[in-house]
Structures are given as structure tokens and as C-alpha cells.
Amino acid sequence: MRSLIYDRYLYLLMLPILFYFVIFKYLPMLGLVMAFKDFNLTMGIIDSPWVGLKHFERLFSSPDFYQILRNTLLLNVYSILFYFPVPIILSLLLNEVKNRVFKKTVQSILYIPYFISWVVLGGIIISLLSPSTGVVNAILKLFHIEPIYFMKSTFWWPVVYVLSSIWQSAGWGTIIYMAAITGIDAEQYEAALIDGANKWQQVWHITLPGIRSTIAIMLILRMGQMLDVGFEQVYMLQNDAVHSVSEVISTYEYRIGLAGAQYSYTTALGLFKSVIGLILITSTNKVVNLLGEDGLW
């Protein structure tokens, strides 16, 4: 009780925002009952008939659901393994740049592709990777390597997917780590210099530990998105030859959308995604806690 009074200003500060979460986030969640009903536009959420687990049965009995789920998870695993570290490394490199003008310019350029739609980026990627006219294959040719049709290959397609993510958003991803790095106490570096620590040791013993909690948070948040794959990116990069590796939940949702208002079914699918996301976030947070970091809670 004592602490409640002691921290009353903190609670007061929070209260309006908690109220916001109740009204704008929890209240609409009542609509999730749609997943267990056959939602009808005229009847509304409450009057639409209950159908139990019908929509979930359809989802789990759909012959292609597991392939789609597997593709989604795989692309995300690749992305965590190969994309996730890139912004961290990039920001460490940027941090070593002494020339202010160079640093600012490079930073401002690196994040530009993030603002350009995948329609454009996709077109550029496809032409760069063309086996007959693309730059990449022209370079391979110099090394006497047979041209590779990257976009049509089910082996190369996920590679292209991950590399294109890096190209598009790694620069944007550095912003948060750059902010974290500036939060590190400069005294520590001075102390290290006096101790005669070299660059590597400084990065390893000061910079990385300094942004460790940010990395942990970003990882936890990322794990919550394991069933999300940006629709536009996949859609613009995929083609009929690579459906077996490129059909993911978001493209599936798109196709359902084209077939008309199946709100109950899409709600069921969304609920499934939420539950998986919750499990992944909670368990990652647990692991992070065990490793001695704060995590989300």
C-alpha cells in the first residue's frame, strides 16, 4: 500500500493510457467471437449463428495449410538468422565512422529503399537477376559460372527473398540500434582507452553489452511476427514457378479476400496467428529472462 501512494503520480500517468487500451483494444476484441460464428453482414456479430469450431476445422483440414505454414515459418527463420543481425552489424560499423558528414550521409541513404514500394523494388530485382540480361549473371559469367535463373529456382528464391529484405530495410533497422548506441555512457570508452583496450575489445566489452537489451527486445518482438510475412514483398517477387516455397499466410489471406467477404474464416486464421505469436513471444521472453536480460516484462 505504501508503494501505491509513493508512486501515485506514476499510476496517474498510466491511467489514461490503460483506459485507452481497454476501450480501443480490448473492447473490439469481443469481435473475435466471429471466429466461432458464421458472420453475416445483416445479422451483425451477436445475432450471427454459432458454428463452433467449423472455421478452424476448415483451416486445419485444408490440404495446403501445412505447406503454407511451413513456408511462412521457413522464410521467417531464414530472416531471423540472416537478416536480423545485419542492422546490428551495420550500426556497429557506422558507429566506427569518425567523419560526421560521411556518417550522416550514409545513414540517410541507407534507409531510402524502405520508403520505396515493392512494386518498384521487385521490378528492379527481377531485372538485376535475369539470366540473360541481368548484372548478377554477367558477373558470374566472368568467373565462368553458368547463368542461374534465380527467380525461377525454388532453392534460390528464399535466398533472394532474404537478401531483398536486407536491401530494403536493413538501413531502416539500424536507426534503433544507433539510438541505443548513443545511449551508452561515453566514460566507459574513455576508461577502456586508458586501459589500452583496442577497437575490438571496446566493441565486444562496451558497445555490444550496451545494446544487448535492445537486441533482446527486438528479438522478442520479432518472434511475435513469426507468422507474418510482408504481403507486398512476396507478391511482387513470387511467380508461378515458385509457389511451392513462396505461398505464405499473407498471400493465402489475399486469395481469400479476393473470393469475397469471409470474415469469420479470416478471423479464425487471425486468431490462430495471434495464439502462435503469443506463445512465441512469451517463451522467447522467458529465455531472455533466463539469460539475465529484462525482456518485455
Binding site: 508512486d7 540517410s108 541507407l110 520505396i116
Partner: protein, 293 residues
């Protein structure tokens, strides 16, 4: 203080500069390509002659975009939506993130879970629409702002940053008799400029690119944002139209690639300019040390 660089460090610096410069070249390439396209003639674009430099220079694509007075109105709307929206977000995010960053706060863990839950579960389109309608927010910017006061993702980032600020600072101030609000405004926030700048950028970009909600909630065409306006102009053939049998008519209005490129330039340049402006706040963090002493 300056210590002589070792040989390997010097090699590292050179390689690092070269590598980053290469990255910059690779990432600026698509933008240059779009810029060149937007300034070229339709014929040159179709024939695949445009790469990094405009062919048959002309400004007609831009002129088409700005032809009717609406684009100015839409630009103004976008600025309002973005500036006010971001301001609301920052206040809201600080209000929740700061208390939750205090480890001693009772109920902290459960409240955080309560909030993170909303990041994963949401009611979906229809319930949200119903709520906005009930609250009488239809066709007002409130319909955009109020349902999105705090992004849990961004809140988490801020929370994490606040946790990194040493408690000793706050304790010192408390001994001086300052209350929590005073400490937050006078002490914590000035120290948090890097994360504030970061989140301002994140939120602002989100608002600037907001498309779907504007389309769903804003009905008056003189209130819509620039993104929506540009999408309307360049997206004359969407999938829904092709499937609906309107396609043939729409095809005749096929929008030249040059105009699409100009639309991308027009919509991205304003927001691209925000970051360089915020960059100066990314060096303020060093103050922590001096304050502590």
C-alpha cells in the same frame, strides 16, 4: 588523449569506409532510377531506355500530379495527420512507458503483459469500425488518431531505453524533493532524445504512409491524405477492378509509368527529409556521464 592507431585498425577504417560507401550506392540506386523515370518521356520508359539518367527530359509527369488543386489540400492534410498524430503518440507512449520502466512499481509485470497482449490480438476490421462509428469519429481525423494512441512495439522500445537510465539520477533528484512528473520532464526526457527522435520518426513514417484507415474512415475527398490521393491517381486498375468487369474501361485509363514514378518521388521526399533533421539528437546521449558526476 589521442592514441596512435595500429596498422590493423587503419586497415579496418579504410575497409569500413569503402564497404559503407558501397552499401550507400546499392541502396540509393532504386531511388535514382525512379527519379530518372519520373523525368523521362513515356516512350523512353516503355522502350526500356531509362536507367539512371532521364531520357527525353520533361516535367509533364509532375505537372499532371499537381494539375488540379487537390494535391495541395492533400499535402496539407497529410502534414496535419502526421504532426498531430505523432505528437499524440509521443505523449501517450511516454505516459505509459515511463511508469512501466520502474522496476519497483507494483503490478508492472501484469500491466505490461496486459498491454503486450493487445499487440497480438485485435478485434479486426468490423469491430473497430463499429467502435469508431459509435464514438462519432467517422470522417474526422480522430478516427485515425484515437484508435492508435500507443504502438506497443514502439512503447517497448522506449521502455527499454528508460530502463537503461541509472536509477541513481532519479534518486538524487528525489532527495531534492522533486516528484515523479518533474523528474520525468526535467531530467529523464532531456536524456532520452535519441529514443524520442527514433520514435518520432517511426510514428511519423507510419502516419505519413497510412493508407487503409484513411480510405475506410475518411469519406470527404477534401480531407484525404496525400498517400490516398496519389494511390487513387496511380492505381486506376486495381485487382478488384479487373475482377469486377470494370477492367476494360479502367485499362484505357492506364497510368503512364512516369506518373507513377513521380508520385513515388512526391510522396517519399517529404518524409525522407525528416530523418536528417532528427539526426542531431542521436549524439545527445553522452550527457548521462556528465550529469552523473
Amino acid at each position: 588523449m589521442h592514441i596512435k592507431q595500429s596498422m590493423s585498425e587503419r586497415v579496418f577504417y579504410v575497409v569500413n569506409y569503402l564497404f559503407l560507401a558501397l552499401c550507400a550506392v546499392v541502396t540509393i540506386f532504386p531511388f535514382i532510377n525512379i527519379l530518372a523515370t519520373s523525368l523521362s518521356s513515356g516512350r523512353a520508359i516503355m522502350s526500356g531506355e531509362v536507367f539512371l539518367w532521364p531520357v527525353e527530359w520533361n516535367l509533364s509527369s509532375y505537372r499532371t500530379l499537381w494539375q488540379d488543386g487537390q494535391m495541395f489540400v492533400a499535402l496539407k492534410n497529410s502534414v496535419i495527420i502526421t504532426v498531430v498524430g505523432t505528437a499524440i503518440n509521443m505523449v501517450g507512449t511516454i505516459m505509459i512507458a515511463y511508469p512501466l520502466s520502474k522496476k519497483r512499481l507494483r503490478g508492472r509485470s501484469i500491466i505490461t503483459k496486459f498491454i503486450v497482449f493487445t499487440m497480438l490480438f485485435n478485434g479486426g476490421l468490423i469491430p473497430n469500425f463499429i467502435l469508431v462509428k459509435m464514438l462519432g469519429l467517422m470522417n474526422t481525423y480522430g478516427a485515425l488518431w484515437f484508435p492508435a494512441i500507443v504502438s506497443v512495439y514502439n512503447m517497448t522500445i522506449m521502455l527499454n531505453f528508460f530502463r537503461g537510465i541509472p536509477d541513481s539520477l532519479e534518486e538524487a533528484a528525489q532527495i531534492d524533493g522533486a516528484n515523479e512528473i518533474y523528474i520525468l520532464v526535467k531530467l529523464i526526457l532531456p536524456l532520452s532524445m535519441p529514443v524520442i527522435a527514433t520514435l518520432t520518426l517511426f510514428y511519423a513514417v507510419g502516419w505519413w504512409n497510412n493508407y487503409f484507415n484513411v480510405m475506410i474512415y475518411i469519406t470527404s475527398s477534401d480531407k484525404v491524405s496525400m498517400t490516398v490521393k496519389l494511390m487513387q491517381m496511380i492505381n486506376t486498375i486495381s485487382d478488384t477492378m479487373l475482377n469486377s468487369g470494370e477492367g476494360v474501361q479502367a485499362q484505357e485509363k492506364m497510368v503512364p509509368e512516369g506518373i507513377k514514378a513521380a508520385a513515388i518521388v512526391v510522396s517519399t521526399v517529404p518524409i525522407l527529409c525528416v530523418y536528417p533533421f532528427l539526426q542531431k539528437y542521436f549524439v545527445k546521449g553522452v550527457m548521462i556521464g556528465s550529469l552523473k558526476g
